[in-house]
């Protein structure tokens, strides 16, 4: 009996260790692939607030692209959005794309209104309904900022709440692409 329990236990531990190892290796390699992939703007589409698919590559290539991944209920995102709203004019030289996986359209709209995001000239708010962001970008830190510049090359990425002046420093006025 003791021998049966012993083998069953070893088998169970082996199974758990095996599962964890396989998962860690596959997730780690996905993450590394994503790190390389996002060095240039990935070819991925999210839904607009009207429900239409919008590809990230479809935006005006002559302007730097700032992607902000957020959630309306995240306090750090609220602060960051408030800062963006207060500095709306300084974002006129770039295309700002805010992406969220929140499924409440009402909450997302209210978030944009409360933080005066509609005052930014070139803003697009997109819904990641299929949770693609994490797969494509390898991580989904809320909030995170990705800044793409010339030839849609990744200039900088910030994970977690970030000062707006750091973002603005990457999009100099009338940047020549």
């Amino acid at each position: 009996m003791r021998r049966i329990i012993k083998y069953l236990f070893i088998l169970s531990i082996g199974f758990v260790v095996g599962y964890l190892l396989v998962h860690i290796i596959s997730r780690y390699s996905e993450k590394k692939d994503a790190e390389n992939r996002i060095q240039t703007l990935p070819d991925v589409a999210f839904n607009s607030l009207a429900g239409l698919p919008v590809n990230l590559k479809s935006f005006d290539q002559s302007k730097p692209l700032v992607l902000v991944y957020f959630h309306p209920e995240c306090e750090h995102c609220q602060y960051e959005a408030q800062e963006i709203g207060q500095n709306a004019a300084t974002f006129s030289n770039c295309q700002l794309v805010m992406i969220t996986h929140d499924d409440s359209l009402q909450r997302v709209k209210s978030f944009c209104e409360t933080n005066h995001l509609w005052e930014v000239d070139n803003i697009e708010v997109l819904i990641d309904a299929a949770n693609q962001f994490k797969t494509v970008f390898g991580k989904a830190v809320i909030p995170s900022v990705y800044i793409y510049g010339t030839y849609r090359k990744l200039k900088k990425q910030y994970l977690g709440e970030t000062r707006i002046d750091l973002v603005l420093a990457e999009i100099p006025a009338n940047e020549k692409q």
Partner: protein, 220 residues
Amino acid sequence: MNFIYNRYGFTTFSLLVLITALLALTIQILFVSEAIYYQSFGTQLDIVRINKIVDSANKYKWLSYAVLPVLILIRVFYTSIFLFIGIFFTELKAEFGKLFKIALLADFVYVLAGLVKLVILIFFREVNTLQDLQFQPLSVMELLNAKSIDPLFVYPLSLLNVFELGYFLVLAWLLVGVINEANEERTLRFGQSLKLVTTSYGSGLLLWVLVIMFITLNLS
């Protein structure tokens, strides 16, 4: 489990918690000032936001001391369980309470690690940010450039340290006494005990490291 209820067991546990808490408190008093928060987060956060972090840290710093006994109990319990299972499979005998006792005594190795860390911080390191406080003394991680290591491997590489090795050795040494006392017909040598600790507690440690890596990958 009698050990934890008797006076000797409770005194040992209390002493372990007290020394660990004192070490943490000393590090906090000596190195964790408000300035360290500004230096740690100032490169990415606004000052008003850092003020908020400082307020929260001050408000909840008692919490880390409050959970300390629970964390130590969980760690000791985890080690005891894996030792118990390992011994069960070898058909040797040992009371769980006695295994809990040796796991608790072996835990003092981590106190020694804390002391060495404190000495290194005081005499050999310049502490500017909170990251400077997060290191495991005499570990493989200390031989490498932290910036070039993927965050996923920081914890496992930090676990490969002199004190973890010491923990294995002390556990094996204490286990010899417990096993030989309970099994008069079979004696256990130190080498055999070390092998037993490596396969039993070692499996538990491997499982723990994998769980931490799994969580690290999935949370990011």
